[in-house]
């Protein structure tokens, strides 16, 4: 069993943490969540591992969000990166601004659209996205098209640009 999970760890850990970091904006939290996911995989090894691992990870993120709301805390979907003590060069500042705008734009998407988008960015097939999110397979293309358009347009709004895709 552990051998099987070892394979899963080697194969999916980096991808899982990357997705979780994109989703939460918090690297340490992403690491912790990924460890929790693999701990659960040890307890109950999944048969179709990739969608399972990512679905569990996304459930954990959602549960965490709901818990935060229940406790009356402000839900911060995207925590800022740890600030630096040294002054940032202009290029760094611009990049930080861009990252912040992308996070804001991503936060405007519905949970399901955002999840489909992030899973697809990890190379998930439509079948895998359907399995991990509960979407119908036939709805994945529509979901992704809406998510991509929304993300881009929302980002462009924040950039002060209103032109359509060319």
């Amino acid at each position: 069993m552990t051998e099987y999970v070892a394979e899963l760890y080697l194969q999916y850990h980096a991808s899982l943490v990357r997705m979780l970091h994109r989703r939460t904006g918090d690297r340490e939290r992403a690491e912790e969540l990924a460890q929790e996911v693999f701990a659960r995989a040890v307890a109950a090894p999944p048969r179709n591992p990739r969608p399972w691992l990512f679905a569990v990870a996304l459930n954990l993120v959602r549960e965490e969000g709901r818990r935060a709301v229940r406790q009356g805390r402000r839900l911060e979907l995207y925590r800022d990166e740890q600030p630096t003590s040294a002054p940032m060069p202009d290029e760094e500042l611009l990049r930080e601004e861009k990252v912040s705008k992308v996070r804001e734009a991503l936060a405007t998407l519905s949970e399901r659209d955002r999840e489909a988008l992030l899973l697809q960015a990890e190379g998930f097939s439509y079948d895998e996205i359907a399995e991990a999110t509960g979407l119908a397979r036939g709805a994945v293309g529509t979901t992704l098209s809406r998510a991509r358009r929304r993300l881009v347009e929302s980002y462009r709004e924040r950039e002060g640009r209103h032109d359509v895709a060319s």
Binding site: A14, S15, R27, E32, V99, G123, S145, S166
Partner: protein, 363 residues
């Protein structure tokens, strides 16, 4: 047939239109100017969205010192198993050259460099405990599958015990040859046994054994020859006292034989830089990031803003593999005694402008 809906256009771009529907979709597209325009619009949204998502990773790669748990994650976390995978490749019969290179990397530092494990810093007992269960369990399993010299019960016990000790020890251990976990950036610039090396100081001694395994995959440029000639004319630096006894012995032996040339820091020029669009097809054994860095003599090129999915070794070539919606992209790198080369291998479906952008971000 009515016009294609946007979901179908995106599915087409993603290669996800069911085969039963594909010919009808393509037929319509061939005759419908409007849908062709919408397809291009969908393509633009798709590419831009992917680029925006990637932007979120750039913070990871450029994260300043002291806050880079995520850097740890990609370069260290998979280590309990991946470092072992070097001695127990999944491939049943790895190429002899790959074997030589892998074993050379193990011996380069005179010992196996223990991994730094970021989870030892975590305060959450559950995560910590779960990690130990997973990592020790996995480590034991992998070691059980290692080669003949790894399988004796004593050897396995010793390695597991060493792992357990390292879990319990969360202090930075740079003096023991392990990169300080709060400065993971250093691992990219210097090999773990010289954590405080200034940027110009190349890992001289470590570069030596590499030359035995590295076969020149490309012709080196004349610039490379000039560089070596220039390097040979300079005096050899003394081996660093902080380096391991094995490295010091190696350096001393070379000094005795007058072979100082290869101990010099060599600023290696790029021998080849090109893009190959055949895509990543095979799946060779994975290696750890540390090994990848060592195999390349201390410098590893990455695509800025991307997180590697894995590192692989094919003969003497290190491949840094990334996942993209178009398929896997590999940044292949190799080193000879006179030059270092790299090439980008991209999926055939990747748009040329994306490939150009990726290439421009190789650092």
């Amino acid at each position: 047939m009515s016009h294609l809906d946007e979901g179908t256009l995106h599915a087409l771009l993603d290669g996800e239109v069911p085969s039963a529907d594909l010919s009808a979709v393509e037929r319509h597209l061939a005759n419908c100017r409007e849908c062709q325009v919408r397809l291009e619009e969908a393509r633009a949204f798709r590419n831009e969205a992917f680029g925006l998502i990637e932007t979120l990773d750039e913070a990871v790669h450029r994260e300043p010192v002291g806050a880079s748990a995520n850097r740890d994650m990609f370069f260290e976390s998979p280590d309990p198993a991946s470092s072992l995978r070097e001695t127990a490749p999944v491939s049943p019969a790895p190429a002899p050259a790959a074997k030589r290179a892998a074993s050379g990397s193990e011996q380069t530092g005179g010992r196996t460099i223990p991994p730094v494990r970021p989870w030892v810093r975590w305060g959450r007992p559950l995560s910590w405990a779960a990690t130990i269960v997973v990592a020790v369990g996995l480590g034991y399993t992998w070691r059980g599958r290692s080669g003949p010299d790894q399988t004796s019960p004593a050897a396995v016990s010793e390695r597991v015990a060493a792992d357990t000790r390292s879990f319990a020890d969360s202090a930075p251990r740079d003096a023991a040859g392990v990169a300080n976990p709060v400065e993971p950036q250093a691992q990219l610039r210097a090999t773990p046994s010289e954590p405080a090396a200034p940027p110009p100081a190349r890992p001289e001694a470590r570069a030596v054994p590499r030359q035995e395994s590295a076969q020149p995959p490309v012709a080196t440029s004349s610039a490379a020859d000039r560089d070596v000639a220039k390097a040979a004319a300079a005096p050899a630096p003394a081996p660093r006292a902080a380096e391991s006894p094995a490295l010091n012995r190696m350096a001393a032996a070379r000094a005795r034989t007058g072979d100082t040339t290869r101990l010099l820091p060599i600023e290696r020029p790029i021998a080849l830089s090109e893009v190959i669009t055949t895509g990543v097809t095979s799946r060779p054994p994975s290696i750890s990031a540390d090994s990848a860095i060592r195999l390349l003599g201390g410098s590893l090129r990455l695509i800025e803003g991307w997180n590697p999915d894995r590192y692989e070794l094919v003969d003497s070539t290190v491949r840094v593999v990334y996942r993209t919606p178009y398929g896997e992209v590999a940044l292949e790198q190799w080193q000879t005694d006179r030059a270092v080369g790299h090439q980008l291998v991209t999926p055939p479906s990747a748009p040329s402008d994306s490939v150009a952008a990726w290439r421009s971000r190789i650092r």
